[in-house]
Symmetry: C2
Subunit: 182 residues, 2 copies
């Protein structure tokens, strides 16, 4: 057991997170180095620590900065750029998943609305039946959109609110003897 082993496990984990998202593991290692540092690190220090060339490290840092995982810091009287890890890479990954769900939900919405438009003015029993079904999907689609929007922001406070709320509710339903679990 050792601190170095613990760090190594986490570095491997960040690298595998990057790979799973279709990125080079380089991004994971660089993020990992910054994750364990209290102080911002210069490009040179990062390159040295990870063993990557300055140009590789620099373009990876630019990329991580664009993703919002790393921030660049300027120190007064110092021309060098320093970097700091800011956001949790796992949360970022999940937010990306939720964004995909959100895109999916929006595409579905478009199809549903186009289909409903086609039914405008149609008053046969068949039209009514089809309309009802599509409207039900539309209702579910709106609920799904709200949920995915909330989650894609990945705001931790909101996640806590959701959990508290669900726990309270399952407590209430078991207290009042209705026995209906959520």
């Amino acid at each position: 057991m050792s601190v170095e082993n613990a760090k190594r496990i986490m570095m491997e984990h960040f690298a595998s997170t990057a790979r799973k998202f279709g990125l080079s593991e380089l991004y994971g290692y660089i993020y990992g180095v910054l994750f364990f540092e209290d102080e911002p690190m210069s490009l040179g220090e990062i390159a040295e620590r990870t063993g990557y060339s300055l140009s590789h490290a620099s373009s990876a840092l630019k990329f991580l900065e664009n993703l919002g995982l790393v921030v660049r810091i300027k120190k007064p009287g110092d021309r060098k750029a320093y970097y700091k890890a800011v956001k949790n890479i796992q949360e970022w990954r999940r937010a990306a998943y939720y964004k995909r769900i959100l895109e999916d939900v929006k595409e579905t919405r478009e199809s549903l609305l186009r289909a409903l438009e086609e039914l405008e003015g149609e008053e046969s029993g068949e039209a009514e039946r089809v309309r009802e079904r599509i409207e039900l999907l539309l209702k579910k689609n709106l609920v799904a959109e709200k949920i995915a929007e909330i989650l894609s922001k990945g705001d931790e406070k909101v996640l806590r609110v959701i959990i508290d709320c669900i726990e309270k509710r399952s407590k209430r339903t078991s207290d009042d003897g209705s026995g209906a679990a959520l």
Copy 2:
């Protein structure tokens, strides 16, 4: 504008949903035919309506049944099998996304716990600093797991509870003048 156009739009939508999930569009079309029917349809009727062979239609129905999107129904005194669409194909697709997130969360948990194990008994300042950071990730990981577990069940009632809860909270924070939006 016509009912047929509306149905066609929805059929295309179901087919594209199937494709996006790496399945043949055949699954989407067959699901779509059942989606608009009130009464269960026999295999023969489904094959005829979609233009697929009996054997193709039959294996697609088995697959859809395994996914829980379609149920098979037996009628008394009738040897034929009948099929009915039960679950929303979009909800199923989202549940599958949430399951992936859940797998991801569990893998992350394992790395975090392994890293913490390595730190057991280590009491240097460095060990303390690394431990703190990993424990923070672990806390976030547990929250993420709960959320993904709830969502992967795709229970519509739970989704409503979540939305009500969030709406109530944002109302409360704006009522009390704290102005803090969720």
